[in-house]
Symmetry: D2
Subunit: 242 residues, 4 copies
């Protein structure tokens, strides 16, 4: 990859956005936007595309590695530990396809490959790209949900599953802010859940994309809360005693 | 409204974003993002929330009025005219609720009012806020779809309807870029359609929000095409002769 | 209507089915089918197509009038009263279309009219056919959900709405057993809810159709419980005190 | 299994139903039901639960073996051959679960196990029960869709996938008539497709269940056509030349 936005200086655009968002948030709050849903009575922790294609270097989907290694992975480890300790579901969502030949009518790629470089995401045992990063991998029968589009809810049983176990709050982490995380937040809201984007645990390839997508999410679609707040929340509700 | 982002100078943030997006797009294209779906064989024109609460001044949902009056409404008028001339569906999506008491379990507000100022969007005959702006209003039995969340597909029959008539390309216009338009684009893609955001016909309250959401859409979720291109496309396919 | 299955003698077929079902249920229970979900912690009462086209005489959709007047309507009245007394949602689902011209691409009829006589179900103020029967009509801001296909969940916000208010048990009544009621039971199950078909409150045009569809439902898809059991259940959970 | 409905004499109940359905169909046709959708312009062949748990003897899900071996499997072989020859999708739907511990909140069983004996349907390599019967197994990258409830559309990407490739007609085969096949027919209709139940290729554990469910399907939900008609249809449309 000859271009690496990570080596560029993003301070100018971040400062400009910060200033713009300050004015915008004043408008939003005056008009009644950017309220908070608050945490509900039963949470689940969901990771979006924290599979090797996104978490590790050298792939077309590779995300900002500093953020991934220093913030997202450690934060998700804390969330998963707190959830497991108290009997909350830990759900791992990734992206893969059974048939990656876009010319085959039997292919499950759909139309997305015309826009996005998906052809290497074959759901085969010997392909590590779609498998969850080993640092935050599923244990003890935790669910791995394979999606084929941006949202963890699109074409999966996630809504039905969460309904069946009475979850009302979905803590969402992963990548990318500008696509699959935001799409999952939006669908969680549309489907009737309280979506929470965990601030330190949402990444992208472009730093500004985290900034402006979390801004939109907080204003309109979901709460943005810190890892500390979410770990505290997960610890206050112990499903093992219910 | 004491704060009006429209009277602020957005040139600095727009210039900073433009520069940032230039670097980001270089990364995207090198990695295989930002491809184009292209127009399909059967289109539909969809307007999102071009109802009086958004198109007219003085409401909490009011959008950038210059853009609305000078670009969005005239552009949508051209799209609707071209679609009607050739037998393509013209679909009007708006937002309204049968019961706007958030404490009533029978209310269809869901959880969104905690985040967004929806309580005035009562679906009653004497409330003009949810009705489609008269300048681009439905004619001749065109559909008005009432949604309750961001996306035009969420909790509506839009996917089923478009499947039943064989549409494969959805031209999406309206407001806002940072919420309902982007959500509709995303769901159109997830549901298997080619989404097209019509460039001049997508608005918001905050100018930068149009800029960065169309950037994300073009990179990952849908094509961004001009009104001219879309009108030409609508004119090339005449369903009345098929 | 020159043919009236209600005036025919159904005792022979009912007796034959009863005998057949006795053997079939022995197989089912030996193999582990026909278990019971039991009532959950939060119910909603849903009526399917108890609109005038189905409840009143003289229409193509008219159902068995003896059953309607002597069992379904009185039973639903009891269920609604119990639900209202304790703060449970009372939801009225009916079927109607904005544009009933099947040749218009803007029509919301979809493909169903080729199979079913839907053309008179226009959603207009002066059409009484799609409106809920006045004996069990909505009060106090209760929801009326307009569907366009068989299931109350298909193309509506019913799943999202029930998720948003934490319902886990759906008491289903109405007509017809062989189409819209069964479809709603099936979708309630698929979506993660406990479906309960209220035995006396499910009707059809053909008596045997109630018998064999409730048999299949009980064996595979939902519990079949009496009005008395359901009224008792609704009375044990008082959401007004929570 | 000590009870085998297959060894019982079903002629009495079948004759009684036949007589009842004759009267009912007269009512239906007079009122405008039981019309035909007809075949559309682009088909797909879908098998429902033709996995070893259903197709082979000795399991709780085992279906009528005479019908399976003499009609369903040979019929599906003909349909698949015709579809493959002309470039039509061949889709295999089965049922399996990642975590079959109903007490684990991470289990994807949902609530269905309370009603149906699903606990042996673990999605593991060494479990043959959920795998497609080898006589009609997938070839050449054909899709295997794993569902968790009755309908092939529930919690899967089937609707999105069929939309993305422009299918409008779904030829449905498999088991059981009284549950998963009927549910898939119903969802195909609700989602905007023309559902066709292939007459000889739909089975159950109870002969009468095929009879009365196909009757309801034909009256209200989908066309019921013979294998010969469907093979002819598949052969008339050659996607390989388009």
């Amino acid at each position: 990859m000859s271009v690496d936005p990570m080596t560029q200086d993003w301070s100018e655009v971040e400062a400009a956005l910060e200033k713009a968002f300050s004015a915008a948030m004043q408008l939003y709050t005056e008009r009644g936007f950017a309220g908070q849903f608050g945490f509900g009575r039963r949470p689940a922790v969901v990771t979006i595309d924290l599979a090797n294609a996104w978490t590790r270097p050298g792939n077309v989907f590779t995300c900002d590695q500093r953020k991934m290694n220093e913030e997202i992975i450690p934060g998700v480890q804390r969330l998963q530990k707190a959830a497991r300790a108290n009997g909350h579901p830990v759900i791992h969502v990734t992206t893969a396809y059974q048939n990656t030949n876009p010319k085959d009518p039997n292919s499950d790629l759909g139309i997305w490959p015309a826009k996005s470089p998906l052809l290497e995401m074959k759901q085969s045992d010997d392909n590590e790209l779609w498998k969850i990063d080993s640092r935050i991998a599923p244990i003890d029968g935790e669910r791995v949900i394979i999606k084929k589009n941006a949202s963890g809810f699109a074409g999966t049983d996630l809504h039905n599953y969460l309904t069946s176990i009475g979850v009302d709050t979905v803590l969402i982490t992963g990548v990318t802010a500008s696509c699959c995380v935001r799409a999952t937040v939006q669908d969680a809201l549309a489907n009737g859940f309280r979506p929470v984007a965990v601030k330190e645990c949402v990444g992208d390839r472009i730093p500004a994309a985290v900034q402006y997508n979390l801004f939109d999410i907080n204003a309109k679609l979901g709460d943005v809360r810190t890892v500390d707040e979410c770990v505290d929340y997960l610890s206050t509700i112990n499903m093992r005693n219910i």
